[in-house]
């Protein structure tokens, strides 16, 4: 059984990572990184700060709700989360399942590539930020820039940057941004897992993309009407933002542990729930 699961997983990995859909990922990474870099550059001028680093671009991107939730999350879901539904629509799932030895093996072989894809997707975004940052004149220094530290300059039209958590002066920005990437990879994987589980019940290949846009859109609409502090606890897109956990940036920060717990529970719950549902549904 293990052998069949690994063999099936290898196929799913090849299918996912050799897909032309990653071209869309490349495009989105580039666009998102450029928009974040422009935001940084504009802010640097307004705040009369010195030079900025490529890691500032990444930090800015990771805290831009539109770029992360609408562009990146949707693209990730479209790349990595429709495989179970698509295979069931085309009945490729049938010929795979009779070979895998069981439904659980097939499900496992679908989950692991999606998890890896979330890490690769964030790595791609990270790489794009560095490339675009260098191209736009950002420094490669791992020391926090004046922008990152929120330095206040006399005569500046904006006093400090408030869109990502200021690091400590001795922080290693590379390590910090790798950590932010991994956090976002966990968040994307958890949401992706929830969507995969949804497609077990409703095997429609267009559903994942719609669900990704829907999660963000519904959250945006609700956030206009619900101003209670509890809403930030239940808003998944809000939790994706690194700055949502910073007392410097927001008034009522979420504890980081609560978000890690939220993503872990969503990830594990969806994986187990999906497996249980798959046991009972007609494929």
């Amino acid at each position: 059984m293990m052998r069949q699961t690994f063999a099936l997983m290898r196929i799913e990995l090849a299918r996912l990572f050799f897909s032309r859909r990653w071209m869309a990922g490349l495009l989105i990474w580039g666009v998102a990184a450029k928009l974040a870099a422009d935001e940084i550059a504009g802010h640097v001028v307004a705040a009369r700060l010195g030079r900025w680093t490529v890691y500032d671009v990444h930090a800015a991107l990771m805290n831009n709700a539109f770029l992360v939730c609408f562009l990146m999350l949707t693209t990730f879901v479209l790349i990595a989360c429709d495989s179970p539904a698509r295979d069931r629509e085309t009945r490729l799932a049938h010929v795979m399942m009779v070979r895998s030895g069981g439904r659980l093996q097939w499900w496992t072989a679908k989950i692991v590539p999606m998890l890896l894809a979330s890490v690769v997707f964030q790595a791609g975004a990270f790489g794009a930020c560095i490339a675009v940052g260098v191209y736009d004149g950002g420094m490669l220094s791992r020391e926090p820039s004046e922008l990152a530290l929120g330095t206040v300059k006399e005569g500046a039209s904006v006093s400090t940057q408030l869109f990502f958590t200021p690091p400590t002066p001795d922080a290693d920005m590379l390590v910090r941004e790798v950590g932010t990437s991994l956090y976002l990879a966990l968040g994307f994987a958890a949401i992706g897992m929830g969507i995969l589980a949804l497609t077990v019940r409703y095997p429609l290949s267009w559903l994942p993309g719609l669900a990704a846009v829907g999660v963000t859109l519904v959250d945006r609409i609700l956030s206009w009407f619900v101003h209670a502090s509890w809403y930030s606890w239940v808003s998944l897109p809000y939790r994706l933002m690194e700055a949502a956990h910073s007392a410097v940036v927001v008034d009522d920060p979420l504890p980081l542990w609560s978000s890690l717990l939220c993503w872990t529970v969503l990830l594990a719950g969806s994986a187990v729930g999906g497996a249980r549902m798959l046991r009972d549904v007609d494929v």
């Binding site: 032309r20 009779v98 070979r99 009972d280």
Partner: protein, 315 residues
């Protein structure tokens, strides 16, 4: 079991009667909400036997195949497929060759690579199997074109290749002749018979081409409205004794009807009738000649399945 349920083992091909059934199910039904799509179906398939499932669209053929292949759980019924209880979808799914309708593959890879990947899941065949089976189904193993460029007929052949490549005990073919050209249909027919006769596989197939089903199957289950209405066995004594007699003049029909060696079961125009012969064909011909019947032709009825189908669907 009610009267519309058939034990399809009763007219099984003689060579497979003693063998342990690969499929042995009874009373199988499937209900979606308030809609019954399958009701009280019983069937067996033994090694070396080709069993056909025919019926109009919506008759329940694909639903039955999904249940037998472990992709769907029946609402009622019992039995086993390759030893696995059909009432559960948990646990191990036994391997069977499965050819699905409108097959899809990993579209960016060529046929050989697709097969190698699929065969690698179980790892029971060696690397040359993909080439061998591609040749067997009439595809070129050295073809480098991606599967996305394939015609429906080529996809059908590739789908058959993936189903039979690992030499499963049981092969389930859903519309295997769909999209094939006439030559492809003839080749498919020969290949299916070869799988049963040569490789000893049990084959369950569905098709709308009645003549092809009749030519290749040992037994045919006629389905309509979710039920198995009738079982037709092209090779059994009853089917073989049904003949068509064509005569020279209308009066010959009356003379032929008086002969004890045959029984008229239907007239088809002034000069042709279907008869059931009670003696061997040469004796019947001698009796006809002796009675002064002008025989234009006498031949075995090749449309038995079509008639049975029309009767079953019309019931």
């Amino acid at each position: 079991m009610n009267e519309t349920s058939f034990d399809t083992t009763t007219s099984a091909a003689a060579r497979s009667v003693g063998a342990c059934p690969l499929i042995d199910v009874r009373g199988v039904g499937k209900v979606y909400g308030s809609t019954t799509v399958l009701e009280d179906v019983a069937m067996t398939v033994r090694p070396g036997e080709v069993v056909g499932l025919v019926g109009p669209n919506g008759a329940g053929k694909t639903t039955l195949i999904r249940i037998l292949s472990g992709m769907s759980r029946p609402s009622c019924g019992e039995g086993t497929v390759l030893g696995r209880d059909i009432t559960t979808t948990a646990g191990r799914v036994p391997f069977m060759g499965l050819m699905v309708e409108r097959p899809m593959f990993i579209e960016t890879l060529n046929a050989r690579r697709n097969l190698e990947l699929l065969f690698s899941i179980r790892g029971v065949v060696d690397g040359s199997t993909a080439c061998d089976v591609l040749e067997r189904v009439g595809l070129d193993p050295s073809e480098r074109k991606a599967v996305r460029t394939y015609s429906l007929g080529m996809r059908q052949r590739l789908s058959l290749a993936q189903a039979i490549g690992e030499r499963p005990a049981l092969v389930v073919l859903d519309e295997p002749t769909n999209g094939l050209d006439p030559l492809g249909i003839v080749e498919m027919r020969g290949l299916v018979r070869e799988l049963a006769d040569g490789d000893g596989m049990g084959v369950l197939l569905t098709s709308h081409l009645l003549a092809e089903v009749e030519a290749v199957c040992d037994r045919v289950i006629l389905m309509h409205g979710g039920r198995a209405r009738r079982v037709y066995a092209p090779g059994d004594a009853d089917s073989r004794s049904t003949m068509v007699l064509e005569v020279a003049e209308p009066s010959d029909i009356e003379r032929a009807a008086c002969i004890a060696a045959l029984e008229v079961i239907g007239r088809e125009g002034p000069l042709r009738m279907r008869v059931k012969v009670h003696e061997c064909v040469p004796d019947v011909i001698r009796a006809l000649v002796g009675a002064g019947v002008g025989i234009e032709a006498i031949y075995r009825d090749g449309n038995g399945l079509e008639r049975a189908y029309m009767e079953a669907v019309g019931e």
